[in-house]
Amino acid sequence: MATSLSKITAQRGISLAEATRRIADLGWLPTYAQQALKYPTDYKFVKAPRDPMKQVLRSYFPMQEEKDNRVYGALDAGLRGNMFRSVEPRWIEWMKLFLAIIPFPEISAARSMAIEANVVPGHDLRTGYTMQMVDELRHSTIQMNLKKWYMENYIDPSGFDITEAAFGKCYATTIGRQFGEGFITGDAITATNIYLQVVAETAFTNTLFVAMPSEAARNGDYALPTVFLSVQSDESRHIGNGHSTLMAVLNEPDNHLLLERDIRYAFWQNHAIVDAAIGTIIEYGTKDRRKDKESYAELWQRWIFDDYYRSYLLPLEKYGLKIHHDDVQAAWDRIIKKDYVHYVAQFFSAGWPVNFWRIDPLDERDFEWFEYKYPGWYKKFGAWWENYRKLSKRGNPPIVWADTGYVYPHRCWSCLVPCLIREDMVVDEVDGQLYTYCSEQCRWTHKVAFASEYEGRPTPAMGRFSGRRQWEEVYHGWDLADVIKDLGFVRTDGRTLVPQPHLEFDEREMWTLDDVRGYELRSPLVDLRQMTPEDRERHIAEYRKGFTVHKV
């Protein structure tokens, strides 16, 4: 409308800059009781961050409500347009994994704002943190709702129906937990500003919330794009929060050493975790094999290498910060030269009996696309996927126990993705205990970064890796059928498995507990620790040589 009420009545209003200045003045320095720093940090602040975005809650809420209306309208439209008649089940199955993981990082990001607001001085950016906090509530519940919608309308709801329980149990979702717990533990600034905002949100949300929607649409899923592009539209605010806070942190030269550590840790963890999950879903969860489509490697080059590394990280050097160019290069090499995503997909398919989603075998069209985008792919992975397709029929052994030449991988103690690039696997001791890592950077993360001292400087606020991090250790020596029962990945008939190595929606084709009994699960790390030093040396050398899969 051209004329508004305020135009007719010529009401004078205050500018947004004036409004935000007044709101920032709501805060004060307490004099009667000192607010305790509940969450520790080793960082120091000499100045408070500014708010460049100049937003107030009274414009925020209606804007978000409007976005919501579009999102829920799109879900209704999806049903009216009979989306599920033509959607690709291969794609929706992977959403059982992805949507089980993602609400947890979202709620963690909401918690993260409590911590950040608690330790960052000043009140300029409080509204920014507040909006992010409410945004993250939005993201988690909107995603839970989308998942419920799939469960109600998709042909096979099994796996969606146990989603949050499955999240707590699965080997793959623990990787997502490493991602989300990083937002809320350890050094407050490391967790909230660097790990969450400066790296996860600024660098990697594009792959999460933009690449995923494109691929969804190509598979006939018109619901996810609306939800996730709407989520992504909140990210620029979070990136802004991150950048302003980072500028205040940078202002104190004493912080630079910690910043170098944290950007290094955060970049490598994000790469290892996000690229593993999203790379696999986008490349292996799709039926769309048009050759003019960008591959994950091509997307990575654009978003991570050009937009993030060149335009965001590199300029930080002018403040005297050391950026680890070699790590960005190493991550790029892992994706483009060392087949990181392909090995992850292979691993997820190897683990299909302990998943809670189905993995569709690949076919000739898939092979052709992979070979076109990644020349040499078929020679390395063709036999595996031929085997997978063949062994997906009931009556065969689960593929890990079939004689294919595949060696079940060690798991990385840091990123929790296995040590899939065999030649890069590293072994080291921390506090007298032996650990395996996927890479030198992950070894450094556990042993050097997550410690009480960094390069001679005490870091009492830094977090620690804890818990039963190694999933295989929990079930070391168990029978596969018992593992699946314990995980709860059995359908309500008490025998049919939730996961299936195919998309057959036919009871006769579906694997049951009887089909997976008699196979023993072992933890490679437990076995490694029990070896004599000589055997261990030999085993590691052998492991680093890799394996060759032959057709069964």
């Binding site: 809420f61 099994s158 149990k169 999933w471």
Partner: protein, 357 residues
């Protein structure tokens, strides 16, 4: 070629085990049927006591895990039992907040268009400038405390309740700020926007309130903060001032606008109060830890209630400022006291703290 019918991925296109398992089946709804709020909230924050097989995997330096029951003195035999009566999740939250924002903006725009602000009693404007404006800092302080508090609850249901409470308080603090900024131009310099903070920081009347707010902010126990804010500070100070003074006195002084702003905060409080009482009642009646929890809450009450009573008494002179007298301070104060007693009785703390007057 398969026909469309054959390859449909629609619900019911094929029948096989669990083809019709179409509800989240890992938790027990409170009612007969799961609500949408429960579906999008329950178990989103995991717990090693439920499904978290490998436990929490990153800890603080001292070994405290991501979420720890040691973050509050209250204990529970089942943290997951609590459901928020307001059933708030993202969509209703934005709808409600937006409705409030629109209501206030329309009321202010209409009022200003009709010249309503210029008809405010000049002494009343002075009260808005010094005291209504001072109160926005108290509201803001509570919002900040809750924002920090939503980090630590043991379930998503608890943290969401504290989170939306923070969102409401921070919105209301901004409502007051921007409302005063909006009407100031119509008062031709009669309203000095800087006076609110000046009074908050230095006026003797407000200092015990500021001390109380800072005490709540300094607490590190999130449920202590949640309890202190909604069971003590809101009724004894904030609601007392909003409903017991501003809402009643405004109209008598030609001000029909300010009550609109204030009424939103009362509606917010009603929801947050019911949430808090529900959670605290669960804690007080916990089959294992009920007695312990009642003792802790009684200690909190002993700590905060005298501070709040003293702070309220210090605000008393504000009731004598308007030209037109409203119900006296004592009436309002008695209403606040009985409100607190009602809340305590609801929680099941009447034996411990009900004798206050």
């Amino acid at each position: 070629m398969a026909t469309v019918e054959e390859r449909s991925a629609e619900a019911g296109a094929r029948k096989f085990p669990d083809w019709d398992s179409r509800r989240y089946r890992y938790y027990q709804p409170i009612g007969r049927k799961a609500t949408l709020y429960e579906d999008v909230t329950v178990d989103v924050q995991p717990d090693p006591d439920r499904y978290l097989l490998q436990g929490w995997i990153i800890s603080f330096a001292d070994g405290t895990p991501a979420y720890s029951p040691t973050r509050t003195r209250l204990k529970s035999s089942d943290w997951h039992a609590y459901r928020a009566p307001d059933e708030e999740w993202e969509r209703p939250h934005y709808q409600r907040q937006s409705a409030i924002v629109r209501m206030i903006q329309q009321a202010v725009a209409n009022g200003r268009a009709q010249g309503a602000v210029s008809r405010f009693d000049r002494d009343w404007v002075h009260i808005l400038q010094n005291h209504f404006s001072a109160s926005k800092h108290a509201e803001y302080g509570m919002g900040i405390a809750l924002m920090s508090g939503q980090r630590d609850g043991m379930t998503q249901m608890i943290n969401n309740s504290i989170l939306v409470n923070a969102s409401y308080k921070l919105r209301y603090a901004q409502d007051i700020t921007l409302y005063l900024a909006d009407i100031a131009p119509d008062l031709n310099g009669a309203l000095d926007e800087a006076q609110g903070k000046e009074h908050w920081m230095n006026d003797e009347l407000w200092q015990p309130t500021r001390a109380l707010v800072e005490t709540v902010l300094a607490a590190t126990d999130h449920l202590e903060q949640y309890f202190a804010i909604n069971i003590v500070v809101e009724p004894m100070i904030l609601e007392l001032f909003r409903s017991g003074f501003i809402a009643q006195a405004a109209a008598l002084h030609g001000d029909f606008l300010t009550p609109t702003v204030v009424s939103a905060a009362e509606a917010d409080y009603t929801r947050n109060m019911v949430n808090t009482v529900t959670l605290m009642r669960l804690m007080a009646k916990d089959p294992v830890h009920g007695t312990h929890n009642q003792g802790v809450m009684a200690e909190w009450l002993d700590h905060y209630l005298p501070l709040a009573q003293n702070a309220a008494q210090h605000l008393q002179p504000i009731w004598s400022l308007p030209r037109m007298k409203v119900h006296g301070f004592q009436d309002a104060y008695q209403t606040a006291v009985s409100r607190v007693n009602t809340l305590l009785a609801e929680i099941g703390l009447d034996g411990n703290g009900g004798e206050n007057s």
